[in-house]
């Protein structure tokens, strides 16, 4: 697959803050890429640099094989879908969608019959038929999202940047729009770069998931790899499903403030802070008296509270040094241990399930 966009060593600083600190990315043609980053990781700035709204301090941006750092946004042909949609409030749905075609500098379409036909096609594609003459304030959030998308797609960009496109929608709609976004993208055959702060959204949407951490790409893999083998403690933290312990690696153990965790053949990834990570759903809760096998790790904690979410229960335990450990028990597997408030329990996991960073 040809790369539609290639960034190498792109940096951008605001005063002392290095918002982008040497970004290297290569985005394939016709793919759905999600970019996961916590707030402040520089993800919106990265999109704005790619779109041309901001200039990078250094580094190169190749779009379809040509350098575009000095090209103004309206000559880049890169679509941008804003979190707040940024629809033109003084124009109707149809006028919003036709706006780019009619007014663009390069090859504007002046034949209104052609414009109408194109608008009709794209309106059908995104599912807005019947709403063409409404004002953009007379439609719902999900519909506005579709207008924003249609307005961009009609100009046939090779790359569409989406800045938290589902952030302004309510939870129900968000799940529906996820599937819809993927379907629309497949029909158009363009590359979507979807920026989000939600790990579930990033994992669900992206063929490839990029993880941004303090201005650097911390990982670029498929969703399964990112979820199961985060490349650094920081990535594991963003995924919101790992308990992390800081500490030091010493021979066959990982020495953490709450005790030694024996290892079993783990390759320690040498990047960032040393850390030991165990996924919420890899931990089981047992009574203090229950025995453990040789390949298991055991610590003790005091039960604080739990949170029922239908398919699973998330239980919170505080360890002796005050840190809180989260355990996810899937209800489909076995009836979980019923915990008594302030009761002491053993938290047990298999050695091989832990990830170690040194």
């Amino acid at each position: 697959m040809a790369a539609v966009l290639q960034l190498s060593q792109v940096t951008k600083a605001y005063g002392a803050l290095r918002a982008l600190d040497g970004i290297d990315i290569s985005l394939p043609d016709n793919a759905y890429i999600s970019l996961l980053g916590p707030s402040g990781s520089g993800k919106t700035i990265l999109l704005r640099v790619i779109a041309g709204f901001e200039a990078p301090d250094s580094g190169s941006i190749l779009f379809k094989g040509e350098r575009v750092e000095a090209v103004p946004p309206h000559r880049r042909n890169i679509g941008f879908v804003f979190q707040n949609f940024a629809l033109f409030p003084h124009l109707s749905v149809a006028r919003n969608i036709a706006f780019g075609l009619e007014n663009r500098e390069l090859n504007p379409i002046t034949d209104s019959a052609v414009v109408r036909a194109k608008v009709k096609d794209i309106v059908a594609l995104v599912g807005l038929t019947g709403l063409e003459d409404r004002g953009v304030a007379q439609i719902s959030g999900g519909q506005r999202q579709r207008v924003a998308l249609a307005r961009t797609l009609i100009t046939e960009p090779s790359l569409v940047l989406l800045d938290e496109p589902l952030g302004a929608l309510d939870a129900n709609l968000r799940t529906r729009m996820r599937a819809e976004l993927r379907a629309i993208r497949e029909r158009c055959g363009v590359t979507f770069l979807h920026v989000t702060g939600s790990e579930t959204e990033a994992l669900a949407m992206g063929d490839t998931v990029l993880v941004l951490d303090r201005g650097r790409i911390a990982q670029a893999d498929d969703a399964d790899t990112v979820y199961n083998r985060p490349r650094s403690a920081a990535v594991a933290r963003f995924l919101n499903c790992y308990n992390l312990f800081e500490g030091q690696l010493s021979k066959d153990d990982f020495v953490s403030p709450v005790g030694k965790f024996p290892l079993q053949g783990q390759q320690a990834d040498a990047r960032g802070q040393p850390a030991y990570a165990i996924r919420y759903d890899r931990i089981s809760i047992r009574p203090l008296v229950a025995s453990v096998t040789a390949e298991e790790v055991r610590i003790e904690g005091t039960f604080i509270a739990d949170e029922y979410s239908g398919a699973a229960i998330n239980s919170f335990f505080s360890l002796d040094d005050g840190r809180v450990i989260e355990v996810e028990s899937h209800l489909s597997q076995a009836a979980p241990q019923a915990c008594v408030p302030h009761g002491r329990y053993a938290l047990v996991w298999k050695r091989q399930n832990a990830l170690v960073y040194a």
Binding site: H74, F88, R151
Partner: protein, 281 residues
């Protein structure tokens, strides 16, 4: 009890405030209906008539009271106000647009612009007269005065536009660029329609401020008088109710102007409100 007492006091205060605010205008309006030509600008009303209105338009038999020398002055003032309005609004919109990005010296430039509305008018007028004399430039309402009117009204237009652009969501412009539309066309097709209510306000400010500007005009206008100067000139001899009649007519004219402004604003706000209601629903 305490609360209702305060309420009453505040009510009376407000009523008095309104009386003082509009009293002069009402008195002026009443006296303009004094009978003429023997009735003067004082109570009591001898007889209600529209004599002075007729007098204004030269529809009365000639008397010793000369008709107001306002015809040409009125035209001058209107033309001057329109010229000032156009130039100040264009300057205000473009410079406020420039101030959206910080540039070197933007703070200094800001105060320099705003200074135009701060400095006392008499001083500026006098200064302009002195400079014109020194440089051998003739003073005219369309020259020296026009420049001073722009200097005076441009800061108002600028500040109005600055406030409007401050609240303007830049992402709609960026959206337009990313669709391939050039910045110039984006301004014409997106930015300008959205800031148009502000532009109307800036125009109204510039027009009304220029139309009745006195102190700057006094020194800078030369031989041909503008309307405020012409009216002032008649005061210095003798005051007749024809001035009041004229005052009533100009006030009505201003109301008509405001009415037009209100209608235009309502049209653009109604569209925005339809939007807002849907937003809540």
């Amino acid at each position: 009890m305490q609360a209702s007492g305060t309420k009453l006091a505040l009510g009376i205060y407000t009523a008095l405030f309104l009386v003082f605010l509009y009293g002069p205008m009402v008195v002026l309006a009443i006296l303009s209906f004094q009978t003429g030509p023997e009735g003067g600008p004082q109570f009591p009303i001898i007889e209600w008539s529209i004599y002075w209105y007729k007098h204004l338009f030269g529809m009365t038999p000639p008397t010793r009271i000369a008709p107001l020398p306002i015809e040409e002055a009125l035209v001058r003032s209107l033309v001057l106000a329109v010229m000032t309005m156009i130039v100040s609004t264009v300057l205000g919109v473009t410079s406020a647009q420039a101030f959206r990005k910080k540039f070197t010296g933007s703070g200094f430039a800001f105060y320099l612009i705003v200074l135009g509305m701060m400095v006392p008018g008499v001083l500026v007028g006098l200064g302009m007269a002195l400079i014109a004399n020194a440089l051998g430039i003739d003073r005219h309402w369309w020259g020296t005065t026009f420049v001073l009117h722009v200097v005076y009204t441009y800061p108002f237009a600028f500040l109005v536009m600055l406030a409007i652009l401050n609240r303007f969501d830049q992402s709609v412009e960026e959206a337009s660029w990313s669709l391939g539309v050039s910045p110039v066309k984006t301004f014409r097709k997106v930015t300008f329609p959205l800031i148009f209510p502000g532009v109307l306000s800036a125009m109204l400010f510039a027009f009304t401020l220029s139309y009745d500007e006195f102190s700057r005009t006094l020194f800078a206008s030369g031989r041909d008088l503008t309307l405020p100067l012409a009216i002032y000139g008649t005061f210095s001899v003798e005051v007749h109710p024809n001035v009041f009649a004229f005052g009533v007519l100009t006030t009505l004219f201003s109301f008509a102007l405001l009415g037009t402004y209100a209608v235009l604003m309502m049209l653009s706000i109604r569209r925005a409100r339809r939007v807002a209601i849907q937003e809540e629903a």
